[in-house]
Amino acid sequence: MSKILKVQNLSKTYRSGEHDLNVLNNVSFDVDKGQSFAIVGSSGSGKTTLLGLCAGLDTTDDGEIWLCGESLSGLNEDGRAVLRNQNVGFVFQDFQLLPTLTALENVIVPLELRGVKNASDHGRELLEKVGLLNRAEHYPSQLSGGEQQRVALARAFSNKPSILFADEPTGNLDDDTGARIEELLFELNKEQGTALVIVTHDLELAKKTDKSIRLRSGKIEETIG
């Protein structure tokens, strides 16, 4: 099975005041196409930093990352942006919908960035899939937390990504809503063959994935699956 994400000897250090903070230390793992993968760990273990680096949102200090066959160190910021637009989807803990755009407009931004024609039609289909077609013209502030995350899911899958990064996707939701979101996430993962990388401290959620790693103080403590 070919690798959609390959991380090798990854290290990252941030400067905090006078001190260097070693957030990730020699981390290596890989994710197969269509595979679901969880990164678990307690707060401050470095899991969000790892997700950001894997998605090309930040640059590495040491080590190498290959995303969709491309070495991220060989791309500049705009190059990584294009790679994200064509291959990557995101779901954030606090939804991160653009507050000045309607639900439909939020969903179709990735499509419009790719220059897709009839993006609105496609956006409506996705909103229908997450059960929010009737809220297409509503702004994020007019939607509940669960609804916002469903819009975020529709946006994440709108460009049929090869890989989707989800940062605590249910962290800001109640149990029932969280469960519905998880269901949708895995459903879309299966349906579109999208690899799923989830950062979570919810072990129950991690158990549902094909493979997971546990981080502690920037190092992989355990690999499951």
């Binding site: 705009d78 294009v82 220059g115």
Partner: protein
């Protein structure tokens, strides 16, 4: 890796989507640009229309196509030129003289105009009744309409001019070529030409003007006529004025005032732009998360930058367009504010040039000033969507320098376009930079000092207020700038007006003159003096005047200097008939700046004279240079012995050339006397007596002139204040924008404080203290800078000591502080209106 495929249309779409959701904030930015553009467009458009209308109406301003004029009867050579031009179509003799109105014992200094022929050929001689404009030619006088009203005169009453008494044929409402400002000092009275000699007023010393009006043939080239005839006329002490040169001269007079107002408007626009820059900074700060998300979704740095750039550009265009429309409306007010100070009826129209100016100014200024805050979008990391990131870089130094250079270049370029003078534009930009830098430094220093010496022992409410002044995203800098600049402008204008009036004011002491008698013949001096003293008023000064023209300068004849195209000597020196006095001492309005003053001279050598610095500059002479004068046919050789600086603004007789005692005593001369009248009643009685006994003597009542000057300054002051208040309006818009931009943060802070137990009153008090401090600091800095600026003006331009009036401190400072307080509190009431729960719930969502 290629690019994403979203094109310009997508950028427009995104800018529109984002903009429509943030229209409240954007509208305030638009408002700031709108007011600034309106100020510039209204002044620029009005100045241009005035110039165009002057050019269009140039013939009716002169009353003819061209005029040949001289201050003495024309000689054969000039007569020959006029004959070769087909002979004049009309002629006029005019001079100043006292007019008496026997019916009511009134007297007035008037400009007597004896006219013959069909003048005016263009424009209208407006009279009441209208038949009077022809009937007066049979032997009547047309008297200035305002004078008729003031002295309660009516048609049929008599007017006495020297030895002639004529019935008033009607009121003169408008004469082509007469300016209202001069007309207010000596209003016109028009009589038939044949009565001029019989008045007996054409005597030595009288300033008499001989005018010959010409109607040109269709298509005659005025420029060519000037080129051919003017040098010959110059040599004969005559002058040619074509309707085109008259329009240029008038245009220049109003142009300078227009340029000044344009700069005031431009400052208002700059102020609006500072508001935009600050508002944009806060706006971009609020958009950081959205920008990060967009980058996560694949938008490039350039795309995320351009979305906001397009918004700013659209705001600039909308602001420019609205500003142009408002500016067009505003310019309709200018003729009302300026009244009769403008010489022509201005036909108001909106021109393409004004629209282009408004739009391009709105666009260029908003984009230029938004570039710096917008640069931040380039450095927003997509990681911000996941977590709070410590920003290592927000703007590149090179780009910051480039933007700064762009702004300064644009401001300089635009000032140069307005002023057409690179040195003045340079000083304008430097002055502006200094004011901006001082205000910025004071605001920053204030924040630093507040942090360093924070009064921890104070109560909770004042402590919170003070903390708001230096919290992140505070408004201290932008508000101190906006309020400071507005107050600075208003206070400087107030101080300058004060200085001008102060300089012109007549000293209220017993030995300073408030009346000047002119054109007193030698044989009348004693009798006039006796008449004055018999009325119980002492003569303060008797000044003898000898008229003369420059014959040679440094050994070179004036005719030769005129022909020398490389000569820098001013035409005024070559053509003017100088009124020269002689005395043995300096007077209060002058001081020697070079050479040595000579009291008395009694020798056959060259006469040591004193010249004013203006004379020396224009004649290009210095100490020791020989100058010869033609004194009514006799040549007098002199040498420049001293150069004086003369304060011409003092209302008293001042002279360009002064001879020492002992030389001119026996030359043909006339006199000027100054005296002080204790009150209006005795002044009127003395004037009646003098006019009746000495009809050729002209009387200048300095009190009336000062009143007139005050009236003119008041009118000009109106329009200047009007423009300065625009800066305040823009300041208010910037203030509202700043309050609105930080409202979100304040609402949250207010809700949290109320959750923790703060009362509504305490929160409002907090806001009130904060804005009162900001208003006071900004306004105080504005007034202090105005004092510094006015002191510099007094020293460099007015050559006087500046004593600031208390008005800006006592009225402007508290008024602006209150305005800021009221706006701040008024706009913040919404903060305490919502329940804390609703605010916090919304915040959570």
């Amino acid at each position: 890796m290629g690019k994403n495929n979203a094109g310009f249309l997508w950028l427009l779409k995104m800018a529109w989507r984002d903009g429509k959701a943030s229209y409240g904030k954007l509208l305030l930015f638009v408002f700031s640009i709108t007011l600034g553009v309106a100020a510039v467009v209204s002044v620029h458009s009005f100045s241009r229309l005035l110039k165009e209308n002057i050019a269009l109406q140039s013939k009716s301003l002169l009353g003819a196509d061209y005029v040949i004029e001289s201050d003495r009867p024309v000689n054969d050579k000039v007569q020959g030129i006029m004959d070769s031009l087909g002979g004049s179509d009309a002629k006029e003799i005019n001079f100043l003289s006292m007019a008496a109105f026997p019916g009511n014992n009134g007297t007035k200094l008037m400009e007597v105009r004896g006219v013959e022929g069909g003048f005016p050929f263009y424009g209208d001689l407006e009279t009441n009744p209208s038949s009077a404009k022809t009937s007066f030619k049979a032997g009547g006088a047309l008297v200035d309409a305002t004078t008729m009203l003031q002295l309660n005169l009516k048609k049929g009453d008599s007017i006495k001019l020297g030895a002639v008494t004529l019935p008033i044929a009607g009121a003169l409402e408008n004469v082509p070529g007469s300016t209202s400002v001069f007309g207010a000092i000596a209003p016109p009275v028009m009589i038939p030409f044949q009565f001029i000699q019989t008045t007996g007023l054409v005597q030595t010393g009288s300033r008499i003007e001989y005018k010959y009006y010409f109607k040109a043939d269709e298509g005659q080239d005025m420029a060519l006529l000037s080129e051919k005839v003017e040098p010959v006329l110059d040599a004969e002490d005559a002058d040619l004025d074509t309707h085109l040169s008259e329009a240029r001269r008038l245009g220049r007079r109003y142009e300078n005032f227009g340029k000044f107002l344009n700069l005031v408007g431009f400052i208002a626009l700059l102020l609006g732009c500072v508001g935009i820059a600050s508002g944009m900074g806060i706006y971009v700060q609020m958009k950081v998360k959205s920008i990060a998300v967009l980058k996560c979704l694949g938008a490039s740095k350039k795309q995320s930058y351009l979305i906001f750039f397009v918004q700013i550009a659209c705001m600039g265009i909308v602001g420019g367009l609205l500003g142009t429309i408002i500016g067009y409306g505003l310019q309709q007010l200018f003729p009302v504010l300026l009244g009769d100070l403008i010489p022509v009826e201005v036909d108001m129209a909106l021109s393409l040039q004004s629209i282009v100016l408004g739009l391009s100014l709105g666009l260029a200024m908003s984009v230029l000033f938004a570039l710096y805050p917008l640069m931040k979008t380039l450095y927003v990391s997509p990681l911000q969507a996941l977590r709070v990131v410590q920003e290592t870089q927000t703007r590149s130094k090179r780009a910051t320098l480039l933007v700064g250079f762009g702004i300064i270049s644009f401001v300089f370029g635009f000032s140069y376009w307005l002023l057409d003078d690179s040195l003045r534009s340079f000083f304008f930009v430097v002055g502006l930079l200094v004011v901006f830098l001082i205000l910025t430094a004071v605001a920053r220093l204030f924040m630093a000092m507040l942090k360093r010496f924070f009064p921890y022992s104070w109560g909770f409410v004042p402590r919170q207020s003070l903390k708001n002044l230096f919290r992140p995203q505070n408004q201290t800098l932008v508000l101190v700038l906006a309020i400071g600049i507005g107050t600075f402008l208003i206070s400087t204008l107030y101080f300058t007006k004060d200085m001008l009036l102060e300089k012109a004011a007549i000293e209220d002491s017993a030995n300073s003159a408030n009346m000047i008698l002119m054109d007193i013949q030698s044989q009348q001096v004693e009798d006039v003096s006796n008449t004055i003293e018999a009325s119980g008023m002492p003569v303060i000064d008797k000044i003898s005047i000898v008229t003369m023209r420059v014959e040679t300068l440094n050994g070179k004849y004036v005719e030769d200097i005129r022909k020398d195209t490389t000569s820098q000597v001013g035409r005024w020196i070559l053509n003017h008939e100088f009124r020269v006095t002689y005395r043995d001492s300096l007077i209060g309005s002058e001081k020697v700046i070079e050479g040595k003053w000579v009291n008395n001279f009694n020798s056959d050598k060259d006469i040591p004279i004193s010249v004013s610095s203006d004379f020396a500059n224009m004649a290009k002479v210095t100490i020791g240079d020989p100058v010869s004068f033609n004194v009514q046919g006799r040549i007098m050789n002199t040498v420049v012995q001293s150069i004086r600086e003369v304060d011409w603004s003092r209302l008293q007789p001042n002279f360009s050339v002064v001879f020492p005692s002992g030389v001119l005593e026996n030359a043909p001369q006339f006199s000027v006397m100054t005296l002080r009248t204790p009150n209006d009643d005795s002044s009127a009685k003395l004037q009646q007596k003098l006019v009746s006994d000495f009809p050729n003597v002209s009387i200048l009542d300095l009190k009336r002139i000062l009143e007139l000057l005050e009236d003119i300054l008041a009118k000009i002051g109106w329009i200047i204040n009007f423009m300065a208040f625009f800066s305040i309006f823009v300041g208010v818009a910037v203030l509202m924008g700043a309050i609105y931009s930080s409202k979100h943060q304040r609402v949250k802070q207010g809700a949290l404080l109320r959750t923790l137990g703060a009362k509504t009153f305490q929160i409002l008090k907090m806001i009130a203290i904060e804005y009162t401090i900001l208003g006071f600091l900004g306004a105080l800095m504005g007034v202090v800078l105005a004092v510094l600026g006015s002191t510099l003006l007094a020293w460099m331009l007015f050559d006087t000591t500046f004593v600031p009036s208390v008005i800006p401190f006592a009225i402007i400072l508290p008024a602006i502080t209150f305005l800021v307080f009221a706006l701040g509190v008024g706009n913040s009431v919404g903060i305490v209106r919502n329940s804390p729960l609703a605010v916090l719930k919304k915040e959570k969502e």
